[in-house]
Symmetry: D2
Subunit: 144 residues, 4 copies
């Protein structure tokens, strides 16, 4: 297959805030999905060299909506924790792709794994309807 393998890994630091945590003193898990969403945005910004608003316009797309996401929670994070989120695309298909996130605690322990399947989405020039579109080779190459 000619598609270059995505190798880019983007890492960002996140501080767990008081408002991220629940009465058990640990992160309320829906907050991890918000963190992962921001991590995917940061990954694409790093790969494509511009923020989402700019690359969406550049490639004529509306966005990369989520169709399927999952998370596995291994070790909880608490208020004040300084964690790291490593994110990478694991597969590009015709018009969809997968992202994996690994949230690591300060000592390197794997805290949470996140899995996403998103769709490259554009407005059909003729019908005006929102639909999936082929991911440009230029985009795939930027993650290689």
């Amino acid at each position: 297959m000619d598609t270059p393998e995505p190798r880019l890994v983007h890492t960002r630091a996140v501080t767990i805030e008081w408002g991220d945590c629940d009465p058990a003193g640990i992160v309320f898990y829906p907050r991890f999905f918000a963190m992962f969403d921001a991590s995917t945005a940061a990954l694409f910004q790093a790969a494509l060299g511009m923020p989402k608003i700019a690359w969406a316009k550049h490639f004529g797309v509306l966005g990369i909506p989520m169709v399927d996401t999952r998370a596995r929670f291994h070790v909880p994070s608490a208020y004040g924790d300084e964690v790291t989120i490593e994110s990478r695309v694991t597969a590009f298909r015709r018009s969809s792709f997968d992202v994996v996130h690994r949230l690591l605690k300060q000592d390197g322990t794997l805290g949470v794994e996140g899995f996403e399947t998103r769709v490259w989405t554009a407005r059909d020039a003729e019908t005006g309807r929102i639909r999936s579109a082929p991911i440009p080779a230029e985009v795939i190459a930027a993650f290689a």
Copy 2:
């Protein structure tokens, strides 16, 4: 002055969810502002007889953005509490208005007071810029 006094009070029940609360076991206060925003939407829907998307279109406005808001926290609410939020407009001016919310605990104790100043906002037909617009008498009458 001819402006009828706003008398409508809208009341809605809210259950405090686990994800609304912080490690102290009480509502993380920014969540109260989100509850109050939903209460203002419910108040306008009750007064105008249609949801916001419909009345915004009907009156040709973009929305009622917040310019100033405040809350006073008297008694905390915790997970599982069934509270009531009473909301009313306290003053209509030319293009801005005030909303007051009272969050009452199950025993009637005042938990939180919320105060909002919002602006009736439209797009200028000539310049296309977003600006404040006079609140229609029909709207003010609906709260009387």
Copy 3:
């Protein structure tokens, strides 16, 4: 097998608020996980006849933390939508169980599916450590 099949389905209505939605005008997907968490709490309250704080104390558990969750997004929901969430336990194991949520749009269309695996968790009487515990037959029976 002697374990009674869980048959209880709990349904609750949810209004999509302005603050649940993102710049695309649709629900920011992490919010669905918060809605599903509240639905699981409501399901257990319906089955056990008391709120979580009460049944956690009654059964001597700390809670039912999430270890794995997934959602599939079929049709977006937007501000003002009145949706319904149907929730049920699909499997009880020794100390873990699965919950499935179906978010239905006003016309009955399936909007989102949610899947959860949670663990029945207690504090070990001897070591004081938090660990999984066998789900009491009384709990399983309450869902039959």
Copy 4:
């Protein structure tokens, strides 16, 4: 008066994420309160040289709960904006204090002002009840 004037200003950078924004494409205003809460935590950490969990233990307090907060919204922020939040204590009283936040847009424009009144809170050694406590001179000095 002998109390030293608080002069410490803490500044932190915040990226506006997709999930912070509403269907109008701008930050959903309750999110600003969450940002300000994290800024107050960062301010105290900078002043006292240790994270909140540590200084709360060191000074024998439970926390600094909010009793009154307000925000004025001048210029909206949108997805992708890189903003700066400047935070400082403006007044220390016996057991309460005021914090002011200024959220500045990338060009230096004042976007939002935030105002907080919080209480230094401890558990009464005799009754076990939560109550306000005198702010230690050591804390006040750390902000001078």
